[in-house]
């Protein structure tokens, strides 16, 4: 199975990935075969089995409500492609 061009373009757009036209076709085939492979799982009968989220063996660790972090602006901004004083800056986004 190959994913059609419209679906591939949509998925790419949702992921903000720009594709050249020839890539749309190759990726459609690639993604199609990945899906086919995963679909083998359908051969297993899971009637009455709850979806497994985590192992069910552990409970989440919870944190106390105390301020133990933050106040590290230099680290936070260290990898910013662009900054202005204490802020990240990005191309203007106004709706």
């Amino acid at each position: 199975m190959s994913l059609d061009a419209k679906t591939v373009t949509r998925i790419a757009r949702l992921a903000r990935i720009g594709l050249r036209p020839e890539e749309v076709e190759t990726l459609g085939q690639d993604m199609g075969s990945i899906i086919d492979w995963v679909e083998q799982l359908k051969e297993v009968d899971v009637t009455g089995v709850d979806p497994m989220i985590g192992t069910g063996l552990a409970k989440p660790r919870l944190r106390e409500d105390r301020v133990t972090d933050g106040d590290c602006r230099d680290k936070v901004l260290a990898n910013a492609p662009e900054r202005e004083g204490p802020f990240f800056t990005v191309p203007k986004v106004v709706e």
């Binding site: 949702l14 903000r16 989220i53 985590g54 552990a58 409970k59 989440p60 660790r61 919870l62 944190r63 106390e64 409500d65 105390r66 301020v67 133990t68 972090d69 933050g70 106040d71 590290c72 602006r73 680290k75 936070v76 901004l77 662009e82 202005e84 004083g85 204490p86 802020f87 990240f88 800056t89 990005v90 191309p91 203007k92 986004v93 106004v94 709706e95």
Partner: protein
């Protein structure tokens, strides 16, 4: 009395549901140890978890879970002992991870309800569909630079409760009453400060219209991020009007997200259709499902403060105040506490009258709140005591209250200083009255020939002569006696 909008083709009914985002009161954020405090220098209340650095893992704040459970209990809602966190995927500059951690399929709180009071004295129940925990996003600042937006992540990752109502609301008034009641409950429990100016409570408003009698809902539009109760009410009116015009012109309403512009009093389409939401929710693999114990829920329930409805009922029963009075006194816990301090050891009905009347007027006049009231509860109680034991009459008491606000002196000190003690000496009252009657012989004759209304004139003259200090009951009694001589 149903709310209707009249269009060209007749009457329309509106259908509204609200999604309220309420910021959880907590020290730290939902999944990190950074401060959740409002404000702060830009990008200082940010940990590497909040900034979406690779390899950083979220760890859930237990207190935020407790706050959600408390709120659920306050809304008389189902508490789900099993809940789960999902990723809601979208790209925006103030969302560093590219997804918001939220609860989609399994929220922590299920169906509940809010009772709202309407102006005509009736009460309506508005259903709550669910409440779930999620992260807030950062803040984009658009007005600092012509070509760039500035990003501050201080708010990113702060815990929010999204409280979704059923589409049970049928008028702008009900929407306002629902929001006020919800805010009151949150403030009572202490889970959200309800401060809409600082954005700690915001609403998304879902609006559709239909003809009265229709049982299906028509397409709705969602007005995003409305930040005051007044604007919520205005936006509903404006959007309903727009939809009615679309339907009546033979068109159809498109399901979309819109923005309310209060300056132009209109709503505008916010996102184009090809960008229609596709959030691709899936369970967050960084977080195990949340399982809480019933005994913990019971503990939280036992520690809840008295909620608004219960407090009202108790004030009505214990102090004999009216339903209206109890609703005003219970708007805030601090007011109810103040009232109870006054009412214990004073005439409770008199206390309610004075609180709602002269006392609130004094607060308004001085621009003070109940917390920094210029007159303490004990001070007001002392003043009322002086009325009850006939030391002063009600009219003089108003003057004393003004003086208390002004000088901070106690009621009895003011009464002594100004010599306002009520005259209960019947001899003194009688002699004042005799002087008045002697000076107004003509009026006495008129009165005796049947002009009963003049009685008020004599009372007024006597009180004036006694500088307002006469005991009203004694003045009346003595006047009657002397006039019938």
């Amino acid at each position: 009395m149903s709310y209707r909008i009249t269009g060209n083709t007749g009457e329309w009914e509106i259908v509204v549901g609200l999604e309220v985002h309420a910021q959880v009161v907590s020290e730290a954020k939902l999944f990190s140890g950074a401060s959740a405090e409002y404000g702060g220098e830009p990008n200082t209340h940010v940990s590497l978890v909040d900034a979406g650095f690779p390899g950083m893992l979220p760890v859930l704040n237990q207190e935020c879970v407790a706050q959600a459970v408390r709120t659920g209990l306050g809304l008389e809602a189902e508490i789900n002992l099993f809940s789960r966190f999902d990723r809601k995927n979208y790209f925006y500059a103030d969302l560093p991870t590219g997804y918001q951690i939220s609860q989609f399929a399994h929220p922590i709180i299920g169906k509940g309800k809010v009772l709202v009071d309407l102006a005509d004295g009736s009460t309506r129940e508005i259903g709550v569909t669910r409440l779930h925990l999620e992260q807030d996003a950062g803040k984009s600042i658009h007005d600092q630079d012509p070509t760039r937006s500035f990003i501050d992540l201080n708010r990113a990752g702060v815990a929010l409760m999204e409280i979704v109502s059923e589409p049970d609301i049928r008028s702008p008034e009900e929407a306002g009453a629902y929001l006020r009641k919800l805010r009151q409950i949150l403030r009572y429990i202490g889970t959200c400060d309800g401060n809409m100016e600082e954005g700690s409570m915001r609403a998304d408003v879902n609006v559709s219209v239909r003809k009265p009698g229709e049982t299906e809902y028509r397409t709705r539009c969602e007005i995003k991020n409305v930040n005051s109760i007044r604007f919520v009410m205005m936006s509903i009116e404006v959007e309903a009007q727009r939809q009615i015009e679309v339907w009546e012109a033979g068109g159809t309403v498109d399901q979309e997200t819109r923005l309310f512009d209060h300056v132009r009093s209109e709503t505008r389409s916010l996102r184009s259709k090809e960008d229609a939401h596709d959030y691709r929710y899936f369970p967050d693999p960084d977080l195990l499902p949340l399982v809480i114990e019933q005994c913990w829920v019971d503990e939280l329930k036992a520690a809840l403060p008295e909620l608004p409805e219960a407090k009202r009922a108790r004030l009505e029963q214990e102090y004999g105040v009216s339903r209206y009075e109890s609703s005003v006194l219970c708007v805030e816990q601090a007011i109810a506490d103040f009232y109870e301090t006054v009412a214990r050891g004073a005439d409770a009905r008199l206390a309610a009258n004075w609180m709602l009347g002269d006392f609130f007027a004094a607060l308004n006049r001085t621009g003070r709140s109940i917390e920094d009231s210029p007159v303490s509860a004990e001070g007001l109680r002392e003043l009322l005591g002086l009325i009850s034991n006939s030391t002063i009459n009600g009219k003089i008491a108003k003057e004393v209250l003004e003086d208390m606000v002004e000088t901070g002196d106690s009621a009895s000190a003011i009464v002594e200083r100004k010599g306002l003690r009520q005259v209960t000496d019947t001899g003194a009252i009688e002699s004042s009255i005799r002087e008045i009657l002697a000076a107004n012989n003509d009026k006495v004759e008129e009165y005796k020939s049947g002009k009963d209304k003049l009685f008020g004139f004599f009372v007024g003259q006597t009180m004036k002569a006694m500088k307002g200090k006469g005991n009203p009951a004694l003045v009346n009694e003595t006047l009657k006696k002397l006039l019938s001589e």
